[in-house]
Symmetry: C2
Subunit: 624 residues, 2 copies
């Protein structure tokens, strides 16, 4: 199918089995995500801007623009990108919930950004002026192309929600400059992928073939070790193996996932099934062997990287928030490219566990890393905010990529819920939303989805507008064995997978899906050494956890797996023992016989942890 | 007791229950360590010097010395220290096995070093010249005092083995400059401790009180967060809590251990039991909760740091070689200060597992990190040598602190084996050695120790010289339940701990100790999540491991703990199953029933692994 360019969404492939719906076609109305979207718009955007103003990250554009500012640049070399990501988030938010003040703020930031752009289109506040390092003198670490990528994505968001304007002009000039500088005779790639997916989206928006060609070139020239050797190895940059030849995602998790997004985009636009297949295989294998149960990717703090297969420590799980955002981005691209609802299931898991957990209730704090096991109660301390300390959502960090990343995802979230195919609509994610769109044949159709998901499993899909036969496809998640569908006054069991209902729908008709959400034990693959002998408890798409504010010693916890977990509120209760722990001068020796009385233990959704105060937590529970 | 200053050893406290013996009083004659000492002298020293010449690290001294060299300094900011450590190692080696060529090379290097010293005594090739950053402008990362510390230790080694000479003059001038710059009115400390222990040893050598005072001041002023905030936290620098108030070793493992060495040295020289007790408690707790079974300390690659209590992942265990050397250094200091043989047992474990494993057979390659679990077979690759890749001992690295550190330890190793107390001699480490010394009352005594240790448990201690009654104390290791002592034609069981034998010894009398070294299963504390459900196999002081050159899939291994391990060569055989592993698209779900046939599996000493080619390995074996 050929997509129109008017779709208000971040990913609009020109072909593929599914057409995404825009944020104007799907509106989140309540339930799990509506308050999070509201907090994002009302608190997070302003909070991030305040910090970036305060720290001088927005001011960098003015300083280099008018030449009168201090020559001391503020922030890390990639701070421009945070400004762009917030502009992208503001643009989606203004599209979702129009606000003249927000609109004006975007314009003001655009002016600041435009003022920093060189005559020839080059744009960076870090490089290129006579008191700075030369342009592109440090491709490995300089992040110049990475930043431009986020600029392009911001311009795409702005243009798709408010029409062409000055930000698009800035972006086109920057993109043109990139194309001129990194033409076919050159070999350079950016240490941090991002420009690839951004150039494709700008090509989709503008119809400019050169942007697509440049993106394809960046994808193809990667993997030949043109970046300098580094102690983390070339895999860190994903410059170790050509994209087509790799078999698994590896190295720096966010770099790897962003590159994969760009490669899928290129593959879709160039009809390159080999490339698409290669990336899908890499992602599938990473999902099968290198992903935490929360959907978090990345095992290593040191290089923010994937571990080897099955190296997935729960304590100090890395699972960067940005990698979660990138996983949703990649899953969405693969869903659109393949039509395989498995990828929607992946996004479901990441969204309801990692993303929902990463952001503070007030939208003003976030996790950078998302551990699965917090052993010690950590009190906040002034100064020296650490990226790796679990249990504390920080208001801001020297590296604050994650908060703007969540912000742009939440502001555009409705575009991830429902797609159109040749015969109707597919509902991929269950959230309260109203859907209004046109089918491929031009018919106007509408749905209203109401659900207690993810806490509950009741999903009601009401036809709001129809006209003749079309299909509604629902996703029955992998875990939903025993699901029941109610349609046409008939109840019938449905197995995990796609349920396609083609009817001559009339407005008011309702489909009900009953997904079983009683809590269940989940065992890890025996190759995951770090959680051997443990079980997790899940409920629907939610991973649960045991949390202690000091009332329990979670190190002493043993769960009795002979008793099935029981539903309790939005969590579960399991039978557990707290065993007596013996200290010794050396922690290796004879096995100790230990005792403890069985007690009920309440488990809550993982995304809720560390909201009532500093606590200890564990997702993986040693079995008795 | 009051020690004389003529002892040829790196640690010579002026008081304490035990007097160390020098490298001239104890000579290693054969067995486990003699070939390693020989390779160290014949290969490692020259190998390290070649690399440092080639990379320009020694040349830095000449360049800044004659002013005619390139202004481009080579190597990292701490590369001076590697030169000093090799000079220290060469000095011990020349003392152990005199060699005019080695002597001349030390003198030549001393001239190079002296040429780079400023008029006022300041010495660094990284800072202070008009094209460099100002002196002490980056205490956190500049390593200036750290480097001076290693210079002082080199000078101590040279002076104790060859008498006072030009290197001592250089060291004294450098130490004087440190005392003048960091006097009582200042607050500075070096980001990397080392100067503390070095200043104390220089004070012991020279009798200069100001060096001791300066060391005490550096110890006392630490822990008040005077170093800049850092994303790893102040604990990284051990600048988070004053030394007297801390309860456990934490942060960067090597920094923490070096600081503890300096604090013990200060405590001993100033009769400060509070300080000594504080450090002993910190080390004891780290040993009980933050140490791998190999004796390796440090769980985290990211900040080369201790983890929280019981966070001891086997895969990607960090356990830096330098932390192993530092653990031996600290254990020796605590042994000398307290007389508690438990610390000798700690050194035993670290030496026979971590240290012996870190160095290549030819002395020309080394591990930086010492993992306990290698999942994938890694082939060597040119360029970009990574610090964190397990299974490959590298000839050299950009950060090559470990090889010179092992070199100085091995060259002075005999000084760690035997001590003198008020009534006689104590044998702490079992190795083939000849001991000749004088007791406190001036009597000449001698021992000959011959043993199959660590592979075997037979220890023969023959009196070589005597004269009147004195005592011989033997250490029965913690694991040696069922040990037997044979003395005076009598066999008797001895329990773990100290065996003190006071006799009117005559030359030729022999004591035999039979330590049981049949292999045994060892279980981890249940709080160590990373190895839950696993056992290790040990034999005497040796940790064993399963290694595969591709013949076994160690991920599929399950050990039958119902069958005791049996002795086989210097390793063991256990009953094991290799289970069938099922791949799936998501590694969490139902527990899988898996099968496999029981087969015998050979285990070898950990220190032997990765010597026959790239391999996979695991110390912790999942139990069936």
């Amino acid at each position: 199918m050929r997509n129109t360019q008017s779709i208000r969404g971040p990913v609009v492939p020109s072909r593929g089995p599914l057409r995404p719906l825009g944020t104007d076609e799907v509106r989140i109305t309540g339930g799990f995500w509506a308050p999070r979207q509201r907090v994002n718009g009302e608190a997070t955007l302003g909070h991030a801007l305040e910090w970036m103003d305060e720290l001088g990250w927005t001011g960098n554009f003015t300083s280099v623009g008018n030449g009168s500012g201090s020559r001391e640049r503020k922030g890390r070399e990639f701070s421009d990108s945070e400004v762009y990501k917030i502009v992208e988030a503001m643009s989606w938010e203004h599209g979702r919930s129009p606000d003249p003040a927000l609109d004006a703020r975007i314009d003001a930031l655009t002016s600041q950004i435009a003022g920093a752009q060189a005559e020839d289109g080059y744009l960076s506040t870090s490089f290129g002026r006579d008191w700075q390092r030369p342009r592109y003198s440090d491709l490995a670490w300089g992040h110049e192309l990475y930043c431009v990528g986020h600029l392009l994505q911001a311009a795409v968001a702005r243009t798709r929600t408010a029409g062409a304007g000055p930000l698009l002009d800035v972006a086109r000039r920057a993109a043109d400059h990139v194309c001129e500088t990194f033409g076919p005779d050159t070999t350079g790639v950016c240490g941090h992928p991002e420009i690839e997916t951004a150039l494709v989206e700008l090509a989709r928006l503008t119809g400019e073939q050169r942007y697509l060609d440049q993106a394809a070139s960046f994808v193809e020239r990667r993997g030949y070790r043109t970046l300098p050797a580094h102690e983390f190895g070339w895999s860190y940059f994903n410059d170790d193996i050509p994209v087509r030849k790799a078999t698994v995602l590896r190295g720096h998790a966010v770099r790897s996932l962003y590159l994969a997004c760009g490669a899928v985009d290129v593959a879709v636009e160039t009809d390159d099934d080999d490339l698409l297949g290669a990336v899908a295989e890499q992602f599938d294998r990473a999902w099968a062997r290198r992903t935490h149960i929360t959907g978090g990717m990345g095992s290593r703090h040191q290089d923010e990287a994937f571990g080897d297969d099955f190296v997935l420590p729960a304590d100090r799980a890395y699972a960067e928030t940005c990698a979660g955002v990138a996983t949703v981005m990649l899953a969405q691209r693969l869903l659109l490219a393949t039509g395989d609802n498995r990828y929607a299931g992946i996004a479901d898991r990441v969204l309801h566990n990692l993303i929902a957990g990463a952001i503070g209730d007030d939208g003003r704090s976030f996790f950078y890393a998302n551990t699965l096991h917090q052993r010690t109660i950590v009190q906040p301390q002034a100064g020296g905010e650490r990226l790796d300390v679990g249990g504390l959502r920080a208001p801001w960090r020297e590296v604050s990529c994650c908060l703007p990343n969540i912000a742009r995802l939440l502001a555009s979230l409705s575009s991830y819920l429902v797609t159109a195919d040749d015969t109707g609509l597919r509902v991929h994610q269950y959230a309260d939303c109203d859907v209004e769109t046109r089918l491929a044949d031009g018919r106007e159709v509408g749905l209203e989805v109401r659900t207690s998901y993810p806490e509950g499993g009741d999903v009601a899909v009401r036809v709001a507008r129809s006209g003749g036969p079309w299909s509604i496809t629902l996703r029955v998640p992998d875990w939903a064995t025993g699901a029941v569908l109610v349609v046409d006054h008939e109840r019938r069991p449905v197995a995990p997978g796609d349920v396609v209902l083609t009817r001559d729908w009339t407005a008011g008709q309702e489909i009900r899906l009953e997904l079983p959400t009683q809590p269940r034990f989940t065992w890890p693959d025996p190759r995951i050494d770090a959680v051997r002998g443990c079980v997790a408890v899940e409920r629907g798409p939610l991973v649960l956890c045991a949390e202690s504010l000091g009332d329990h010693d979670l190190d002493a916890l043993r769960v009795c797996v002979g008793h099935s977990p029981e539903q309790a509120g939005d969590g579960a209760v399991v039978r557990a023992r707290f065993e007596s722990l013996l200290d010794s001068s050396w922690p290796y020796g004879e096995p100790s016989a230990r005792t403890g009385t069985s007690v009920p233990l309440h488990l809550t959704p993982y995304h809720r942890w560390a909201r009532r105060g500093p606590s200890t937590m564990r997702v993986w529970l040693p079995s008795a």
